[in-house]
């Protein structure tokens, strides 16, 4: 054995062929093949229930599977014994915020525990711990118990604990789920740096399609099968197309014309976006403009499609629901008169304050939402969004301040408000042990609907949510997407004037998410329902007519999505995307040479630039001097996530400066 050191083109770290796993009657994974090479960051992307966790657990040797071949680090995993042999060489971080950590132990104690469990020598432990804590900027909080950390910090600690024994392979199951966009970016940056430094291989899963660019290669999973795999740009090339977006009046007429012609049409706030299977952008734009003849069209634009568009197009090709007709199947008759006047205010928050003991969760929050508008409330975990919603829905009382919801005073007419609003929370908040019909009837009764009204609304909900055939199914056994639609239906049973949606799409697959947004859009445009929504998906913020960004209990920005982007472009410049073969080295060079805002984004670097052409030339010079090749430097439109991260980072910096002053 010892002499057969023929240099092969290094064997894959992970090899999976024909992997199947069933839980009882449910087939969770139906045949997955993949190979992961040394040093790769490989992504498994797919919604809840796509089979990501099953595959990862099997690879880590903690879950048995039905059929297929699984090889990890050259070891075939076919028994508990074989799995045991490689466990020392890999690290696993399971799904859930800090679920593998001990809440009562401090950061330091958690790390020490995992290191000693893995028999890391004390001297090495001290060095590694110091370096990892510095890199993750957790060293200031060494002695803080894990339960007091924010979501992002918990995930960073989880990462340290699964890397402390310097494994050859790390398996991270949805490390960024439930983490806000700023912490998410931070996490990816740290992960990329750590892996490069130690030459590790990583298999990472995520439910966010827009994180695909973080990986070298990915597999898109859907319902236990691989939909596509390869480099992100290869996958995009599978369905060449263009995303055309425009504003048109009347919006509903434009929407129905587009829907008649294209399968992937989306109304996002005042905007409509259409996925056209035509790679040539001007041609695609022309095609859409032709189809819209006779309507007033503004700000038409053609850009490269997102991975989500491709994902849905792929699903559509497979015939699994991508082209599903959304919402109330019948097309609306465009009765513009039915739309309520925009000058009626549905929600008015005036200097709302809420204290919990000495902690001020919400600080002088004011905003106004006209009737029929989709209003988005954004912010990191703990920014105060949920507390604002709780005050507006009457669950808790404001400490000071006032407000009106659906025409009733918050302080005096709480009961009237409750009768006029609907609410749907992030977790499925209906009764899982009741059937679909029983749930609907329960809420109809709670809102005091008569028997005839109940019958009529039940029919409407079943149709709106596509629940026909599921009437007597226990809601626990419904798929996630359908469950959320049922929850939405129950929240609408009494025809509320204002609808509150607290992260309505978390855990829902892209198709289900689009369908939900379509329903929300119709409610707002056709029935004049006012909608206040919070979301963690920054791409979804674009569905809103208006946004308020919260930070540390305050509203720090209040504008439409396009205005927000414009403001950032005016303040900080346009987004410049740099492509280079050595992104991490390039980042180092840029940070040291006057581009402090640069950040690694997958294989590319993003930075904001007031003068893209001049900056591109300067960057080219810097990188050439450092011996790094620059493949391209092109301006890209800002995404809502860029806006969010820019705003929050600036505010965090300001807060740190203020804190610094206080301690001085």
């Amino acid at each position: 054995m010892g002499h057969t050191t023929l240099v092969e083109p290094s064997p894959p770290v992970i090899r999976v062929a024909g992997f199947h796993k069933s839980y009882g009657k449910i087939q969770a994974v139906r045949g997955i093949d993949l190979e992961i090479n040394r040093g790769e960051i490989y992504g498994l992307i797919g919604p809840d229930g796509a089979g990501k966790s099953s595959l990862m657990k099997a690879l880590a040797g903690v879950l048995t599977f039905d059929t297929g071949v699984v090889e990890v680090l050259g070891q075939k995993i076919d028994s508990e014994r074989s799995a045991e042999q490689i466990k020392g060489r890999l690290g696993l971080m399971p799904q859930g915020l800090g679920l593998n950590l001990y809440p009562e132990l401090s950061i330091q104690e958690n790390i020490d525990f995992f290191a000693r469990l893995r028999l890391v020598p004390e001297k090495e432990l001290a060095q590694r711990k110091q370096r990892l804590l510095e890199m993750t900027r957790l060293d200031r909080f060494r002695d803080r118990p894990m339960k007091q950390l924010s979501g992002g910090m918990k995930q960073k600690l989880g990462l340290i604990c699964s890397l402390i024994h310097e494994p050859e392979l790390v398996i991270l199951d949805e490390p960024t789920t439930g983490v806000d966009p700023v912490s998410r970016r931070d996490f990816w940056g740290i992960l990329a740096e750590l892996l490069r430094e130690q030459g590790m291989t990583a298999l990472v899963s995520t439910a966010y399609l827009d994180e695909a660019d973080r990986f070298h290669r990915v597999s898109l999973l859907h319902e236990g099968e691989v939909l596509a795999k390869g480099r992100p740009d290869e996958i995009r090339a599978l369905v060449p197309g263009t995303l055309v977006s425009f504003h048109a009046e009347p919006q509903l007429a434009a929407l129905s014309r587009m829907k008649a012609r294209y399968p992937q049409v989306l109304a996002r706030g005042p905007e409509i976006t259409v996925f056209v299977e035509q790679a040539d952008r001007p041609a695609a734009l022309h095609e859409v403009e032709n189809a819209l003849k006779g309507l007033r069209v503004e700000r038409a634009d053609a850009v490269a499609p997102e991975l989500e568009d491709v994902f849905i197009a792929l699903l559509r090709r497979l015939g699994t629901g991508g082209g599903e007709k959304a919402g109330a199947a019948k097309d609306p008759d465009f009765n513009q008169a039915a739309r309520p006047a925009k000058d009626v205010l549905a929600i008015e928050a005036d200097q709302l304050v809420r204290d919990f003991g000495a902690f001020r969760a919400v600080d002088r929050v004011s905003f106004r939402v006209p009737q029929g508008e989709i209003f988005g409330l954004l912010g990191a975990n703990g920014a105060g969004k949920t507390t604002v919603i709780k005050m507006l829905t009457g669950i808790i009382r404001p400490s000071t301040g006032a407000g009106r919801v659906a025409g009733a005073d918050m302080l005096q007419a709480g009961q009237a408000i409750k009768e006029r609003i609907g609410y749907m929370s992030q977790a499925f908040s209906l009764y899982q042990d009741l059937t679909v019909l029983e749930n609907i009837r329960l809420y109809a009764g709670i809102y005091g609907l008569s028997k005839t009204e109940t019958r009529a609304r039940t029919g409407w909900i079943i149709e709106m949510a596509g629940l026909a055939g599921f009437e007597s199914t226990l809601s626990a056994s419904l798929p996630m997407g359908i469950r959320q639609r049922l929850a939405l239906g129950c929240a609408l049973v009494h025809r509320p004037q204002v609808l509150f949606l607290d992260e309505p799409t978390s855990g829902v697959d892209p198709v289900g998410r689009r369908r939900l947004w379509e329903t929300i859009f119709r409610l707002s445009r056709e029935e004049g329902v006012t909608i206040l929504v919070t979301t963690h998906y920054m791409s979804e913020a674009e569905h809103c007519d208006h946004l308020a960004l919260m930070f540390a209990g305050r509203v720090v920005a209040d504008a439409s999505p396009s205005e927000m982007k414009q403001q950032v472009e005016i303040e900080a410049g346009r987004l410049l995307e740099l492509e280079t073969g050595q992104p991490l080295q390039a980042l180092q060079a840029l940070l040291q040479n006057g581009f402090p805002g640069a950040a690694v984004y997958g294989k590319t670097i993003h930075l904001l630039s007031r003068n893209p052409e001049a900056d591109a030339a300067q960057i080219h010079a810097i990188l050439t001097a450092a011996g790094i090749g620059l493949d391209s430097a092109v301006p890209r439109p800002l995404s809502m996530e860029d806006v969010f991260v820019y705003r929050v980072m600036a505010l965090e910096q300001l807060q740190r400066q203020e804190d610094g002053k206080v301690t001085l």
């Binding site: 669950i395 409750k418 009768e419 899982q432 329960l442 025809r495």
Partner: protein, 392 residues
Amino acid sequence: MNGEQPNRPFVARAAVWYRRMQVMTVKEFLQLFRDTVVLGFMVYVFTMDVYLAGSGVSLELKNATTVVHDADQSASSRELMYRFRPPYFKLDGEIAHLEQGVRLLDQGEEMLALYIPPHFQEDLRNGKPTAVQLQVDSTNSVLGLLAAGYGARIVGQFGLEAALLRLGVAGDGQENLPIIQDDHRAWFNPNQNDAWFMSISELLTDITLFAIFLPGAAMVREKERGTVEQLLVSPLSPFQIMFPKILAMTAVILVGTALSLFAVLEGVFHVPLQGSLTLFFAVTTLYVFTTAGLGMFIATLARNMAQVGMLTVLIFLPMIFLSGAWTPPEAMTYWMRGLMYISPLHYFLDASFGILLKGAGLKNLWDSILAIVLIGSINFGLGMWRFRRQFQ
């Protein structure tokens, strides 16, 4: 949009109020009937557990294992020895040394060791005082006491007979001697059947357990699954959320009680249900309903099912201990007796034993029932107050 006018007529408002209560109660029943684990647990407790308590737990002395060290080996010593017989005692034979007896007691293999000294018969005949020794394992103090007492009676009787024999008044002459005849008559439970007392008291204990646990569990389940938020943003008042739960749980507990009463108490143990069953169920309803307040109180403190379980035990154990199910109040130290008077189970036991075994009616039990109402109202009020307050 729904036409919810603030000044709707009273009748319409009442109709909506009634409909809300109705759908919420129906919901509770549906959820409970789909929870097979809790249902199975209830059926077990109301049948098997009551049965086991009635047939298994006994405070009577039965078959106490006894060994004898007979150093005399005479007719008298043998006669004394064989008076230790079933159903109270069971002779396990003789041992050679006294130390062996001590060892057997230490190892827990025997409960009693009787030591009969040498010259036992001779001394009795000669009228010389003599003594036997009975060593008793009193780990279980009740049984130890009973064994020692019965043993003393056997030896005493034997000694008396030996003395009379010596006086020459054997047989018929006894009747002329000044001996007090001790006869007693047991009321309410003429055969002094332990099963009656134990099964009834177990049933009442189980009722208490569920009266606390079920509403608490139902409420915390809503917290755990996040459904409570949906209820809070709806126009339901805290009362409309809480009351249907208690209503449904009370109904289910009453069904369990009936099952236990007719199938186990009457069916298996033949307890003569003396009093008015209507009165018994009325008192039980009142008791369960008000004790549920404690469950609601727990639900406001607990964050998950495990905590509900722990807190239930925390409240439930002292309640049983202070109820008088094990020890009558008169036997407790005076401050504990004070605590007993605030345990609602104490009055519930009083009333239930009164109705079921003594056939007592309202005339005799009004004070216990009044106490259940008073303490129950406080518990219910406490639960309601905490429940409302947690949402402020």
